[in-house]
């Protein structure tokens, strides 16, 4: 058992739900603005439109 003073389970639910919603929004925004590949290590300047 820990020794912290955490909020009630209901408040914690709203906190973790907020964090999860934020994570989903960030994930969607990353997917939408991604111009080059996420898998390889090539860093490509925007000028070539993600071609490498």
């Amino acid at each position: 058992m820990g020794n912290s003073q955490l909020p009630t389970d209901e408040t914690q639910f709203w906190i973790v739900s907020g964090i999860a919603a934020l994570a989903v929004l960030l994930l969607i925004s990353r997917l939408l603005r991604k111009k080059s590949c996420g898998g390889c290590s090539s860093k490509v300047l925007p000028k070539d439109g993600g071609k490498h």
Binding site: L6, G39, S41
Partner: protein, 646 residues
């Protein structure tokens, strides 16, 4: 010499393949494009910024070309770019790469470039190869003969930056123009500039190279050598990486325990321990494997051996309808299918190109590594030799699937012969440990960055989906809780309480949003060995395969009360609803084959769509690969069960 205007001056790197352009480009711009000791790596014009002192120069790395006049995609691209016909102004400076070990031949491209009337400076590379062959270049004589500045460099060393900067500053339009047919001129110029220090050395090096080549490109011995080299590579990875992996795993377990000790049980603690630490930790644990793989592959590439493997592979590829040009894209695919598909642009024939793009994702990329490692570790625990062989088998299976699929499409929707392959074999050279370390570091950092961003976000979302909605404890759990109160000894109380907690946690995940999705997909994925928990991990890794491992840990972590230390141990100790092991050998085998062949990568599909100019090829790729993965995964599991594996 560079003019100052509003836009930064543009310098273009031009040279024959494998003369070190991309190495210098990376060094000057601080970028990390893929380089190797074989020709044809650069498929497109890449632009970077170089800042020598107070100036900023836009640097362009063009694909390697033997001549600007050829009717090949890379020659056309260079020709149009240099003439300012790609919507861009003509370059301000040309850096022409000359290979010291093949000076006469590389001077022909220089001769063609002089017609463009752009200020030129020459970059002499491969001086070490020339020295091995018993010759060196008199730079002053060469400068005098060409009428432009010449600088000799080793692009892998930082000390090259200063001389290149000075040469660019003093670049000039050549005062002497070579004749239209530059063959005699280039030979005469090279003869005047080359100082032969050891007349026998070239013959000795050639003899030695030929002898090695005869062996490593022999249909039988060459193939055996290739298989031995790759098996030894994977065995080394498994053997060496196991220690740092255990340390990282232990570190994350300690972090989890510390947090559990500091926080009261509740949603926040569960999010941090199961979602963040458990999910990200289970991915980060594979960094040593990735670093080692790329370190060793980089060493192998630099020696020049992989170019010989290309020649060997061409013999196998042509009967399957893949052009020889496809080897470089397919080899790049071991890192990531995306640059491989982009690299396919250099394949002149459209049918050849489409076939290459369709099959490239079958080759095992770095994102598959965590999944392979997890499943192979479960299949062959404590048997590094078998694990290494299984790893080689995964790579071979991907390659065989690519070849047979190519044969299928070339006999059906993409009929026609493939073009023959001509590739210049690079010299054997001593690999640079520093460069290999850079490559390994860069690959590991890319992986870590992904674990800290996309994978972390997916883990948080997945944790929430596997924790809610809250499910009321079942009658069985209630009954166990009642038994706790009635238990006579402390040990008995603890044991019953543990059982009740485990059952409740499991029921909670099963009734969560994730659990419902897993139950929905279970009948479809059951043949390859997945229960509802594994189905959740497979579904969540649709966009990126490596998410499989972290998703599985988040789902198992949310319903776990076994106290298992480490992510692999947690998966090994996990059970299905009926109490049997989550991953039996047959299930692990089925899933392994599924992940070798499945198209679980959204960015690759997007690139296929863009490069093929339509959605239908991307959909065909997705449908075909998924169906094949499912069918062969199910067949593997059935076969293993029939052979007596549980």
């Amino acid at each position: 010499m560079i003019s100052t205007s509003v836009t930064p001056p543009r310098a273009v790197l031009l040279g024959q393949p494998n003369t070190g352009k991309t190495t210098l480009f990376n060094r000057l711009c601080g970028l990390r494009s893929h380089v190797a000791n074989y020709p044809g790596i650069t498929a497109d014009a890449r632009i970077g910024r170089w800042q020598p002192g107070d100036t900023t120069i836009e640097l362009v790395d063009l694909p390697g070309v033997y001549s600007l006049d050829l009717d090949l995609p890379e020659s056309t691209l260079c020709r149009r770019f240099l003439n300012g016909k790609l919507g861009e102004a003509k370059p301000d400076v040309l850096l022409i790469f000359l290979d010291a070990s093949k000076l006469a031949r590389t001077l022909r491209l220089y001769a063609q470039a002089t017609r463009l009337e752009i200020p030129i400076c020459c970059v002499l590379t491969m001086a070490d190869s020339a020295l091995q062959q018993g010759s060196s270049i008199d730079i002053e004589v060469l400068e005098e003969l060409l009428g432009v500045p010449v600088v000799s460099i080793d692009g892998r060393r930082r000390s090259s930056l200063g001389p290149v900067s000075l040469a660019v500053e003093s670049a000039t339009v050549p005062s002497r123009t070579p004749p239209d047919d530059p063959r005699d001129w280039s030979r005469a110029t090279a003869d005047s500039a080359v100082i032969v220090t050891d007349p026998e050395a070239r013959a000795t090096v050639t003899r030695r190279t030929d002898r090695i080549d005869q062996f490593v490109t022999h249909p039988l011995w060459g193939t055996l050598t290739f298989l031995t080299v790759m098996s030894a590579l994977f065995l080394t990875i498994f053997w060496l990486a196991s220690w740092p992996m255990d340390w990282i795993d232990a570190l994350f377990s300690v972090a989890s325990s510390v947090i559990e000790g500091a926080l009261d049980a509740g949603p926040l603690r569960s999010l941090i321990t199961d979602g963040v630490v458990g999910g990200v930790g289970s991915t980060v644990v594979f960094v040593p494997q990735i670093a080692l793989l790329f370190f060793l592959l980089s060493l192998l590439e630099e020696t020049g051996y992989l170019a010989r493997a290309a020649l060997l592979a061409d013999r196998f590829m042509r009967p399957f309808g893949l052009p020889g040009h496809a080897f470089v894209p397919l080899l790049s695919s071991h890192a990531c299918a995306i640059p491989a598909i982009l690299c396919s642009r250099l394949i002149p024939d459209r049918q050849d190109r489409l076939a290459t793009i369709l099959v490239a994702p079958f080759l095992s990329c770095s994102a598959r590594l965590p999944v392979y490692v997890l499943l192979i570790s479960l299949l062959f625990a404590g048997q590094p030799l078998l694990a290494g062989l299984a790893f080689t088998g995964c790579y071979l299976l991907g390659a065989i699937a690519a070849l047979l699929s190519s044969l299928l499409v070339r006999k059906t929707i993409l009929r026609g012969p493939s073009r023959p392959f001509v590739m210049e074999l690079p010299p054997y050279q001593r690999p640079s440990i520093g460069h290999a370390l850079e490559v390994a570091g860069e690959r590991s950092w890319t992986f870590l960055r992904k674990a800290g961003t996309v994978i972390l976000l997916i883990c948080i979302a997945l944790w929430w989906l596997s924790s809610y909605p809250i499910n009321a404890p079942s009658a069985e759990v209630q009954s166990l809780r009642n038994q706790v109160a009635a238990a006579s000894t402390v040990d008995e109380k603890t044991a019953i309480e543990k059982r009740a907690n485990r059952l409740q946690a499991r029921e909670q995940v099963a009734a969560s949003f994730c659990g419902r999705a897993g139950h929905w997909a279970e009948p479809i994925l059951e043949p390859v060995g997945a229960d509802w928990q594994l189905s959740v991990a497979i579904l969540s890794s649709f966009a990126a395969r490596e998410v499989f491992v972290s998703s599985l840990n988040v789902v198992l972590g949310a319903g776990d009360d076994s106290g298992a230390v480490g992510s692999i141990a947690r998966v090994r100790n996990s059970v299905r609803d009926d109490g049997s092991a989550l991953l039996t050998p047959s299930s692990a085998g089925g899933l392994l084959v599924f992940y070798v062949l499945a198209m679980q990568c959204l960015p690759t599909l997007a690139v296929t769509r863009r490069e093929t100019g339509g959605l239908r090829w991307a959909l065909l790729q997705l449908g075909y690969m998924t169906a094949l993965a499912w069918a062969l995964g199910a067949a593997t599991r059935t076969l293993l069960i029939a052979l007596g594996w549980p």
